[in-house]
């Protein structure tokens, strides 16, 4: 039951995210949908993920977004965009794009339902944070190291691109 509530919230919030013209609203709605997701994680007996979902995602990343939106005192998306830019950018083709999205939903749905049946959950014991930690630093140690390089690169890049003109 809870699943449908959370799921409904997530879908609704996400839809609203992309229905908004005002980025700030979008960000806040996204945070809402993340909340719903973390709820789902809890249902899936993944409390650890649920927590970092809230902390890292909602707490850190979304705040970063908000920060940037504020920084650029995010203008409302201009509605008077030039329709004469290119035929492909007018409403018609874009509706076609939307159709594509719908098609994607249908296809994925089909895929996942026609897939071999993994209906019932294996009733393995609740995975503890400790287990996660162990596995993370044993089996996934190398991947973990790689993420460090990833973060480093991202840092450097962000700094270069975003810092004020030195000249």
């Amino acid at each position: 039951m809870l699943f449908y509530i959370f799921g409904g919230v997530a879908i609704l919030a996400s839809l609203l995210v992309i229905a908004q013209r005002n980025p700030i609203h979008s960000v806040l709605l996204l945070i809402a949908s993340f909340g719903a997701l973390s709820g789902l994680y809890v249902l899936l007996q993944a409390p650890f993920v649920a927590v970092i979902q809230i902390i890292v995602y909602a707490g850190a990343i979304m705040v970063l977004f908000l920060f940037v939106v504020m920084l650029l005192n995010a203008p409302h998306e201009e509605t008077d965009y030039d329709e004469r830019v290119h035929p492909l950018l007018q409403r018609g083709p874009m509706r076609f794009g939307a159709l594509l999205a719908v098609a994607l939903i249908v296809e994925l749905w089909w895929t996942l339902t026609k897939g071999r049946e993994l209906g019932a959950f294996s009733d393995a014991e609740v995975t503890s944070v400790a287990a996660i930690g162990r596995s993370l630093f044993r089996d996934y140690a190398f991947a973990f190291e790689v993420t460090s390089v990833l973060i480093l690169a991202a840092m450097v890049g962000a700094v270069i691109l975003a810092r004020r003109e030195s000249r």
């Binding site: 830019v85 290119h86 492909l88 950018l89 083709p93 874009m94 076609f96 794009g97 594509l100 999205a101 098609a103 994607l104 296809e107 994925l108 089909w110 895929t111 026609k114």
Partner: protein
């Protein structure tokens, strides 16, 4: 040894061609005459050796080297003298020498370089002509065959700055090429059929066959060969080049377009007598075409006003006789006429040359007249020639032409015989028309411009600076200079006596000429006609015709010219038709030449090549370019379209997977 005969003129050619512009006229003239003269002497010795052989094995072969070898095909460059070719080489070198000598005087106004060039060409021609007649297989003959064509091209166009001259040369060459096309195919067919191109072997192979009742391979190959002959020997339908060839210097006309080259076709048929005699259908065609040509040319000759053109048409007509002879199987007679004709026609041409020379380039009969007293030598020799060709008994022409007509009648081609007789009448008329118009009466050249229109204007060679028109031209009239006179006299004598070589048995002779040639014609014997009575009557008849013709000519063109004009006026249509040579040139131009040019220009090149083929090629490129532009537009620059295309790809791929 035989090689020397063509080689000497070739050396002369090389000398004059390479050093000509540095040595003086007498020098180059001497070189040329020396070369051809020497070759004449060699030829004489060769023939002497030949006649000293037993009759049935009379042949000297000189294998020079193997020219082309390819698989089972081999063509040796080998020369062969037998009775037939011996006659030819004597005619070529002998008359050739005379004409060389004549030319030294005739071409005297030319600049040194041009003079040398002229003689180099003349020598080269002699060389090729000798190769033609000496060649012992088709390919060597073809070398000469093409070579003489080239030389005639060069010599006709000798005064190259005259458009008419170079045009005429080109026309001659191309028309000849059309003939060669047939000749070549004939040779190919012969090789494929008999596996050899050597005259002797082909003859031997053909002899085993029985004459074709229906039109078969042999008939086809002989017919193809004959096409070549019509080109070279100016027969219908390819005769058109010869009259134009008169653009060349007169001695050239005498040598190439009267005495030697144009008879190559006749010689070729004689050379392949065996082959032809196995193709009766072809022979009939030959005979008919020969007769038709003879008649047609004779009629045209009647009205032409250019003295050389009259002679040219007369040549065509006489060649027609020769082919008639060949066609009725009287090969000996044909060659005999070829041989006598060489004398008197060369004589006539040289005579006309002397006249033109004297009148400093004037060739229009209507502007001549009364030259009898000013140019005695020319006059008398010319008359001799005319009498000879007209067939007055006792002179060369009489015997040969008579032989032909008699054989025609004997072989049962009565129609052809009648036409032949008619033609010989015409011959007498037009020849003596020339004689009377040119040499008798009063000089008409003082008033040049009242000439009746309709004929081509007078041709004055640029070599003669004084245009013919400015009257009066008779002030500096001088008879033929010694060199020319010598040639004229010798030829005149020849025209008188040459005929007795073939004196028919009825007149106490023994057809020596024909008997001498027999071995060359291989199997079939010169059939003896039993009753001399018939032959006699025909003789009397034809000689009567000759005199009649002379008489008619005398009436119309000597005693009262009015009559001639009245007749001309009465039949003005006919006259115009004849003056314009039956409009054959025009017809060819309209039906062949222009269509080809226009189609090539407008259709083949401008449309098919440029538009269709090349258009297709470039079209491919343009198509690609068009696609490029179109696809390029998809790259709108907006990241959203890019995302859309990406998603499109996703949906497609997933869709494909689910659909299958």
């Amino acid at each position: 040894m035989l090689l020397l005969i063509p080689l000497l003129p070739l050396v002369g050619f090389l000398i004059n061609a390479s050093f000509g512009r540095r040595i003086s006229k007498p020098a180059s003239g001497a070189v040329a005459c020396g070369a051809i003269g020497a070759s004449f002497l060699v030829a004489l010795t060769a023939v002497w050796r030949l006649v000293s052989m037993p009759a049935e094995s009379r042949a000297i072969v000189d294998q020079v080297f193997t020219w082309i070898t390819s698989g089972r095909f081999t063509a040796a460059f080998s020369l062969r003298v037998d009775p037939l070719s011996s006659v030819m080489i004597l005619v070529i070198t002998g008359i050739g020498t005379l004409i060389h000598i004549y030319s030294t005087a005739y071409m005297h106004e030319e600049a040194d370089a041009e003079y040398a060039r002229y003689f180099s060409y003349l020598n080269l021609f002699a060389a090729f002509m000798l190769v033609l007649v000496l060649g012992s297989n088709f390919l060597v003959m073809f070398v000469g065959w093409e070579g003489v064509g080239l030389c005639s091209y060069l010599l006709i166009g000798f005064w190259y700055q005259k458009k008419t001259a170079s045009d005429a040369g080109k026309k001659a060459f191309i028309v000849n090429r059309i003939g060669d096309f047939g000749f070549l195919l004939g040779v190919l067919l012969i090789f494929v059929r008999f596996g050899s191109i050597d005259f002797q072997e082909v003859a031997r192979a053909a002899a085993t066959l029985s004459p074709e009742a229906a039109f078969g391979t042999v008939s086809l190959m002989t017919l193809l060969l004959f096409v070549g002959a019509t080109g070279k020997s100016a027969q219908i339908p390819l005769y058109v080049w010869l009259p134009d060839a008169m653009e060349g210097p007169t001695p050239v006309s005498a040598l190439i377009h009267a005495a030697t080259m144009v008879t190559a076709g006749v010689y070729m048929i004689g050379r392949n007598a065996v082959l032809f005699s196995h193709a009766p259908q072809t022979l009939t065609i030959v005979a008919v075409i020969g007769t038709a040509t003879a008649l047609m040319a004779g009629t045209i000759g009647l009205v032409q006003n250019d003295i050389k053109r009259v002679l040219a048409y007369s040549t065509v007509s006489q060649l027609g006789y020769m082919f008639l002879a060949m066609g009725v199987g009287a090969f000996g007679a044909g060659i005999f006429h070829l041989y006598t004709h060489a004398f008197f026609k060369a004589l006539l041409f040289l005579g006309s040359g002397a006249v033109i020379h004297a009148l400093s380039g004037e060739q229009d009969l209507r502007r001549m007249g009364g030259l009898k007293n000013d140019l005695p030598i020319t006059y008398w020799t010319f008359v001799v020639g005319a009498v000879a060709i007209a067939g007055v008994p006792g002179l060369a022409g009489f015997f040969s032409k008579d032989e032909i007509l008699f054989r025609t009648y004997a072989s049962g081609h009565t129609v052809l015989w009648v036409v032949g007789m008619l033609t010989s009448l015409l011959t007498a008329i037009y020849m003596f028309r020339v004689v009377f118009l040119a040499f008798h009466g009063t000089s008409r050249s003082a008033s040049p411009h009242d000439a009746p229109s309709g004929d081509a204007p007078s041709r004055d060679a640029p070599a003669h600076p004084a245009p013919a028109h400015d009257a009066p031209v008779h002030h500096h009239l001088h008879d033929a200079p010694p060199a020319m006179a010598f040639a004229l006299i010798v030829l005149a004598i020849g025209s008188i006596v040459a005929g007795y070589a073939g004196l028919p048995s009825i007149l106490g002779g023994g057809d020596w000429f024909a008997r001498y040639l027999e071995p060359s014609f291989g199997v079939l014997p010169v059939e003896q006609v039993a009753e001399h009575g018939l032959e006699g009557t025909l003789m009397i008849l034809s000689s009567g015709l000759a005199f009649a013709g002379i008489g008619i000519a005398m009436y119309f063109f000597l005693t009262n010219r009015r009559a001639a004009d009245q007749v001309a006026a009465r039949f003005s249509g006919v006259q115009r038709l004849l003056l314009n040579k039956y409009y054959v040139d025009e017809a060819y131009d309209a039906t062949v030449v222009q269509p080809i040019k226009i189609v090539s220009q407008e259709v083949l090149w401008k449309i098919i090549d440029v538009r269709v083929i090349d258009g297709a090629v470039n079209g491919v490129g343009e198509t690609v370019g068009g696609f490029a532009e179109a696809l390029r537009r998809l790259q709108s620059g907006s990241v959203r379209t890019y995302a859309a295309s990406l998603l499109f790809g996703v949906v497609m791929i997933l869709g494909y997977y689910l659909w299958r």
